[in-house]
């Protein structure tokens, strides 16, 4: 039985608000998938808290994947998806999927949260070298 890997990240919601204000759609297009943007909307507008939680999830997953300093892992290669039951799941593509496969990592699980000025996420996967 392989070991467990865990990643965690904390994101100030204010930083996401600043990014939206300064870079707008360009920020959204570079960091989030269209599905993530749509699932972050509340009454039509993107919700900075939901975006911040999704960014935290991407970073938490990256910590599980443990890329080398020179290994490219575009943020959009890690997609946070809301399941019909309300929990979140993560999908990997491109370099993120390749990194997970190369290291023999099992399915990735994530959990997101946000409260006030902060958003957080944790990611867990079994397998891979400890």
């Amino acid at each position: 039985m392989g070991s467990l890997r865990v990643g965690i990240d904390l994101v100030p919601v204010g930083e996401v608000e600043d990014s939206l204000h300064t870079h707008g759609d360009r920020y959204l297009r570079r960091i989030y998938t269209p599905r993530e943007v749509e699932e972050s909307r509340r009454r039509g507008d993107v919700c900075p808290e939901r975006l911040a939680a999704r960014f935290a999830a991407k970073e938490a997953v990256m910590k599980v994947l443990r890329p080398s300093a020179g290994e490219a892992l575009p943020w959009r290669a890690i997609e946070v998806r809301r399941a019909p039951g309300g929990w979140t799941e993560v999908g990997l593509s491109g370099g993120a999927a390749a990194a997970a496969a190369r290291q023999g990592l099992g399915p990735m699980s994530v959990s997101l949260s946000h409260a006030g000025a902060y958003a957080a996420a944790v990611a867990v996967s079994a397998g891979g070298a400890s």
Binding site: V11, E15, F55, E59, P67, A69, G70, G95
Partner: protein, 85 residues
């Protein structure tokens, strides 16, 4: 100190949320050790793209591309040279 280096220091001051004054940073100092968070690196990337009229392709979205002033300058120089070609 090149003009590019100075411009990068200003972008760090405005976007990287470092714990130290970027004016005094060694060009090879680790920016993450200096307090740059993962989300701050996003803002820095977008600001560098705006300032130098370049775009980082997916293959350059690595931790090492943004780990120091020198690394950012090298990336900008590479991208600017590619666009000019």
């Amino acid at each position: 100190m090149t003009d590019v280096t100075e411009r990068i220091r200003m972008l760090l001051r405005d976007h990287a949320r470092l714990a130290v004054d970027p004016a005094g940073l060694d060009p090879h100092a680790d920016l993450y050790q200096a307090g740059m968070t993962s989300h701050a690196s996003v803002n820095l990337m977008l600001a560098v793209e705006d300032a130098f009229d370049v775009e980082f392709p997916d293959e350059m979205l690595t931790r090492s591309s943004f780990e120091s002033i020198a690394a950012i300058e090298a990336a900008v120089t590479h991208l600017s040279t590619e666009e000019a070609a």
